[in-house]
Amino acid sequence: MKPNFTQKVTNWGNYPVVEKEMRSEDSFKKIKDFVLNHNEIIARGNGRCYGDASLGESIFSTKKLNKFISFDRLNGVIECESGVLLSDVLEIAVPQGYFLYVTPGTKFISVGGAIASDVHGKNHHAEGCFSEYVIEFKLMTESGDIITCSREENSDKFWSTIGGMGLTGIILTAKFKLKNIESAYIRQESIKAENLDEIFKLFDESESWTYTVAWIDCLQKGKDIGRSILMRGEHAFQHELPQNLGKTPLRLKKKLQPTVPFYFPGFVLNALTVKLFNWLYYKKQSKKEVKNFIDYETFFYPLDAVNEWNKIYGKSGFIQYQMVIPKEAGKEGMKKILETIAKSGNGSFLAVLKLFGKHNPDAYNSFPMEGYTLALDFKVNSKLKKLVDQLDGIVQEFGGRIYLTKDSMSRSSLTNYLKNIRSSKFVSLQHKRIINNNS
């Protein structure tokens, strides 16, 4: 049997699906051989981007670059290979009293993916993107050479690689800072908002909180548009914790993880079920305001509690549509977006609203800019392209942009904030699509 490295590859949204060569190597020498012997390469971490960003002719999977290199337990500086997952980092960091400065809504992403997408969390307004805490990384360039990139060394490559979507080379290792925590718990407040005005007011009032996020029931119409729940949180200090948690504040109990066993048939997620889900989610909280302590997993990664939940959307897959609209126009833009979705009947199972702080001008390829960001999941069907185009129109009108790591069908004028990444070697399907759209 001769090896055949082509296989079906798809990212979290199960759309698009490609059949391409995918390889993984763990020695830098073999990675160099791979780079020199292939023409169009794109790195892939854990495939948690939703669309076509980490797909290409030859995919280099960092799955085998999964080793830790060092951990300075005194200063909270960790170094690892790029395929190490944030979940692996948390596993060793949390018991030592450390946490990630910035984490996205899933911990199953690689460190390389976190840098290449310059991910953000619920604390962008307060603490910025992942890159703020990156000290340096090693990058394999087109020639197969390995360069160290930091703010001082090869700083041009450092900044173009951050948010650069893998188009500048393969990140091999990275060193970054962790933040101190006293417990693995979050002091949380969740507050119901009846409509958009109220939720924006709540965001304004919560600006001093480190973490804020809102879940929107995006099928509401008229005066109920923007009905939502705001959640805000702080890492709990040990002395604040109730007695039962305070004894071993940095250890969580093991939980069972249910797995979605197969692709759900298409009819499961129709407008009605989505409506029901959102209604239940909203009603679950009967009080206007709830204050409690919850473990960090439940607070940051509610979706990770069900393995492979992406299969709920069926075999045709789904997209995540995440955009940002500048702050001044935020409310008006969001209203238009939500109205358009409600009208389309193409319900989103999940709608998450967050506040972004100022854009870091050095990290010019990063997605966040000061304003409001909304992330929506849509099942892929024949009507979706039209809806996306309508939404793109609104985002454009308000001077916003689309998050590349979730994009698979938006117009290129919303995604072409990427700069300094022209390479003939590192090419993704996404980048090709964007360039072709432009011409």
Partner: protein, 241 residues
């Protein structure tokens, strides 16, 4: 713990699994033919578990100086040494290939195993875990040189188990079926029959704790191999397996 074949992903996953479960080892001895990869792993377990280890080069195709191993002592030996080589179709009449397969999987490996088994016997404690293969359960036309070496290794382990039984040393034979590892990368394997290194490590750890004698990594393999072993020879010889 002593690990033979430390670059094996299953071996590494097993070490991690054991450490995660809270097993304590004063030191882990990582024998390897690939120092670079193994040193990465040594650093990794140091960062992750504060686990001390030592990387020791061992090339089974060369002369072995056992004096180097004098001070090594432990109560678990995990042997994941394995070399697939060319299949019979391409490699049967290539003597170098044949020799290498036999050397690495059996003839040069057994003396090293014996060396440590002797230490275990003297201490009257410990567990020896050997990764053999379902390929050793019955010779098939596609890879029977490898299969025959593994069959010999399986027989060796079963004899060793018998011999060490009343010396309080336990021997566990693992028969992985298909595994998604470097060895099989790019081969068209049925995902239902293929275990990831992590899955395999979890199974092996369970068998280790339960003091099983022989364990298949995925349970379906015990059924498949039961059938394959029992096909009458006059039919079996005509099959394209």
């Amino acid at each position: 713990m002593i690990v033979l074949g430390s670059t094996s992903e299953v071996a590494q996953a097993f070490v991690e699994k054991a450490l995660q479960e809270g097993e304590k080892f004063e030191k882990i001895y990582l024998f390897t033919s690939n120092k670079e990869t193994t040193e990465r792993f040594a650093r990794h377990i140091d960062v992750k578990f504060l686990q001390q280890s030592e990387v020791i080069e061992l090339d089974l195709t060369k002369e072995i100086d056992y004096n180097r191993f004098d001070t090594i002592n432990s109560n678990v030996l995990f042997c994941a040494v394995g070399y697939l080589g060319e299949g019979t179709e391409e490699g049967l009449y290539d003597n170098k290939n044949t020799q290498r397969i036999i050397d690495i999987n059996y003839s040069k490996l057994v003396p090293v195993m014996n060396y440590f088994a002797h230490k275990f016997e003297n201490r009257r404690s410990g567990t020896i875990i050997g990764l053999s293969s379902v390929a050793g359960d019955r010779g098939r036309q596609s890879n029977f040189i490898y299969g025959s070496a593994k069959a010999a290794f399986t027989a060796y382990l079963s004899g060793l188990r018998n011999y060490l039984f009343d010396k309080k040393v336990h021997v566990l034979t693992i028969k992985p079926g298909f595994m998604a590892t470097k060895m099989t990368e790019g081969l068209p394997l049925n995902p239902k029959l293929t275990a990831s290194p992590r899955q395999a490590a979890a199974c092996i750890y369970k068998a280790f704790k339960k003091q099983n004698n022989v364990a298949y990594v995925l349970p379906v393999w015990s059924i498949i191999m039961l059938i394959i072993r029992n096909i009458p020879e006059f039919i079996f010889k005509k099959l394209k397996l």
